[in-house]
């Protein structure tokens, strides 16, 4: 039997398939094949897996410590991409060698370099609105009123902004 159709982007196995065959997946090291595009090491160390069946498909969620591009995240993260057929289980012999971290990737931006100006029409409209509502503000309204960037939040590493979705954003002053 010969198949034809669109070739899949992934060439590995799904995490759920791999962990369903293991009695004790705790402590095993697991990588995604798409992480091989980065020169630094990235993998997950599993701590807990939950399986389920939806119809004929094996689904589930895993939890583990994440090491991405050399940086080890402090808390246990949830792995939702277990269903993608992209995973590889690393044998216990090669775990030590594989887990040695040589380089760490530093995200290339500083908060001071971010341009926080708003588009010009938006500035004009904002100033008019704030005057109508008799709200006090200093200087020109900028992005800091809408979004916050917390340097110390490690889970946002590599992510630039944490947009606030509350309605008070327009009344906040920097």
């Amino acid at each position: 039997m010969k198949l034809f159709g669109r070739h899949s982007f992934f060439h590995g196995k799904s995490l759920m398939e791999l962990t369903a065959q293991l009695k004790n997946p705790k402590g095993r090291v697991v990588t995604r094949l798409t992480f091989e595009r980065y020169p630094e090491k990235s993998y997950y160390i599993l701590s807990h897996v939950e399986h389920g069946y939806s119809g004929q498909n094996l689904t589930g969620v895993a939890w583990g410590t994440k090491v991405f591009r050399g940086y080890k995240y402090p808390n246990i993260t949830r792995i939702d991409a277990g269903g993608k057929r992209d995973w590889r289980l690393i044998p216990k012999e090669e775990e030590e060698e594989y887990c040695k971290i040589d380089k760490v990737h530093e995200p290339k931006f500083k908060p001071e370099d971010i341009d926080t100006r708003l588009p010009p029409l938006m500035e004009i409209v904002l100033e008019r609105n704030l005057k109508q509502r008799n709200v006090a503000y200093e200087g020109i309204p900028k992005l800091e009123g809408f979004v916050t960037f917390n340097k110390d939040d490690v889970t946002k590493r590599g992510v630039y902004f944490n947009a606030q979705k509350s309605s008070d954003s327009q009344t906040q002053t920097s």
Binding site: M1, K2, L3, F4, G5, R6, H7, S8, F10, H11, G12, K13, E17, L18, A20, Q21, L22, K23, N24, E50, H51, G52, Y53, Q56, L58, G60, R85, R88, L89, P91, K92
Partner: protein
């Protein structure tokens, strides 16, 4: 142990006969797609002296249970009960293909059940089945339990004595079929991970020998002799598994370490088997064109790991060099070690048995108490569900009564609602007429038109 085994089901929990339970469970699987864990435990604990039809029924139920949400995580009590009842009924050989298919049946053995099974097979001299169980324990890569290590080493060494010097069969050539092209949305790439997908038995044997040799199962007072035995088993294992470069790297290391002391490094017999398997190893052609993704199979991916002819020749040269080097300082001893290993392991097993039995007794008792707790929980939940249904029925009745009582006061609203309610459109069905009826109709119409004129 037998008394604990027979009293494993608590008396406070119901004991439903096998036939009725199995039928009810299959009903549940077809209606709801799941049946509770308690049902499965009850079923599995009421298996005694069953006919052949019912054995197939059980296997079907295990398959369906594994494909439901309740099967995860795998419960040791269920697996233990299935294995033990199969052993009591003397049909344990049927279990081996189900243990191999982990995704489909989910019989992941824990240490005690594996020991039981291997013991059973070895007493009956079924070395092949015993070795299959040992391979499954190897796949878990968990070598913390000493008794299982010893037993699997025993099974593997016995199997080595049977298979080690037999040339393995060649790969079956793909039969020439007609081109049946099937259209699929996405063509997935077949994957051969070198662990769970291994099909050939001598590969599995080799890999388990290698791992067990690393785990230092064979003790000896003389540490160099212990290393000798374990190293030689590792070497043979890698030879069977066809990882020749890895084996030769290890040999170099051992020779470099042993040269100064002039201690032996290998045994003659293991070297011979390694040489044989080097000669017999299959070869791939590096200039072969790569097939389309739709035509590739898992076997095709596995063949990519074979050696080319050049690599094989290089391995052979390197091997001969290292063997000569080892012979120069009497590094190759001439002894028959298999019997020695088997006797050594037997002694160990007798020492370690008692602890294992003690631990398992406690487990049976904890499982018993767990069953009682689970049963009480489920009873409570059922009562709650039943009461909820009763309450809902009562509420519906009361709502009807209320409507009837207050209908007079809400007369006007009811009339308005009746006017505003949407009416069903009555669709006129198209009549299907025969040709004769059609002709008659056309005739009558023409007659009407003529009349009007």
């Amino acid at each position: 142990m037998q008394d604990v085994w027979e009293n494993r089901w608590p008396t406070t929990v119901e004991d439903i006969p096998f036939g009725r339970l199995s039928v009810k469970m299959i009903d549940n699987f077809e209606k709801f797609g799941r049946s509770s864990v308690l049902d499965m435990e009850m079923l599995v604990n009421s298996m005694k002296n069953i006919s052949t039809e019912n054995i197939e029924l059980i296997e079907d139920i295990v398959y369906r249970f594994r494909h439901s949400d309740d099967a995860f995580p795998v419960r040791d009590s269920i697996v233990n009960a299935i294995v033990r009842s199969y052993i009591d009924m003397d049909i344990a050989h049927r279990l081996v293909p189900f243990i191999k298919d982990k995704l489909g049946y989910g019989l992941l053995l824990d240490f005690y059940t594996a020991n039981l099974l291997m013991n059973h097979f070895l007493e009956k001299n079924m070395t092949e089945e015993a070795a299959q169980v040992a391979y499954e324990m190897m796949f878990q890569e968990d070598f913390s339990h000493n008794l299982t290590n010893c037993m699997s080493m025993y099974c593997c060494v016995k199997r080595l004595q049977d298979i080690g010097d037999v040339q393995p069969e060649e790969d079956p050539s793909a039969p020439e079929e007609e081109d049946e092209w099937v259209r699929v949305n996405i063509v997935h790439r077949p994957v051969y991970d070198d662990h769970f997908d291994i099909n050939k038995e001598h590969f599995r044997l080799g890999k388990s020998l290698y791992f067990l040799g690393q785990a230092n199962v064979i003790p000896d007072e003389n540490s160099s002799r212990k290393d000798l035995l374990n190293h030689s088993l590792q070497f043979v294992g890698l030879g069977l598994y066809n990882k020749f470069s890895k084996a030769l790297d290890l040999l170099e290391k051992w020779i470099a370490a042993a040269k100064t002391d002039k201690t032996p490094v290998l045994f003659h017999k293991q070297m011979e088997t390694f040489r044989n398997h080097l000669d017999w190893s299959p070869v791939r052609n590096p200039e072969e064109e790569e097939l389309d993704l739709g035509q590739q199979t898992v076997q095709y991916q596995a063949k990519k790991l074979y050696l080319t002819e050049e690599e094989k020749a290089a391995c052979v040269e390197r091997f001969e060099k290292l063997v000569e080097e080892a012979k120069s300082f009497n590094g190759i001893a001439d002894e028959d070690i298999y019997e020695h290993i088997l006797n050594n392991i037997k002694g160990q097993i007798q020492n370690l048995q008692k602890d294992d039995i003690g631990i398992q007794r406690k487990k049976y008792q904890t499982w018993k108490t767990n069953m009682v707790d689970m049963y009480q929980k489920e009873m409570r939940e059922e009562e709650r569900r039943r009461k909820q249904k009763e309450i809902e029925l009562k509420m519906a009745e009361m709502a009807e009564k209320e409507e009837l009582i207050l209908a007079h006061e809400r007369k006007r609203e009811i009339l308005l609602a009746r006017h505003k309610a949407p009416r069903e459109k009555v669709k006129q069905k198209k009549e299907e007429l025969d040709e004769d009826e059609l002709e008659e109709r056309m005739k009558s119409r023409k007659a009407l038109i003529k009349k009007k004129k």
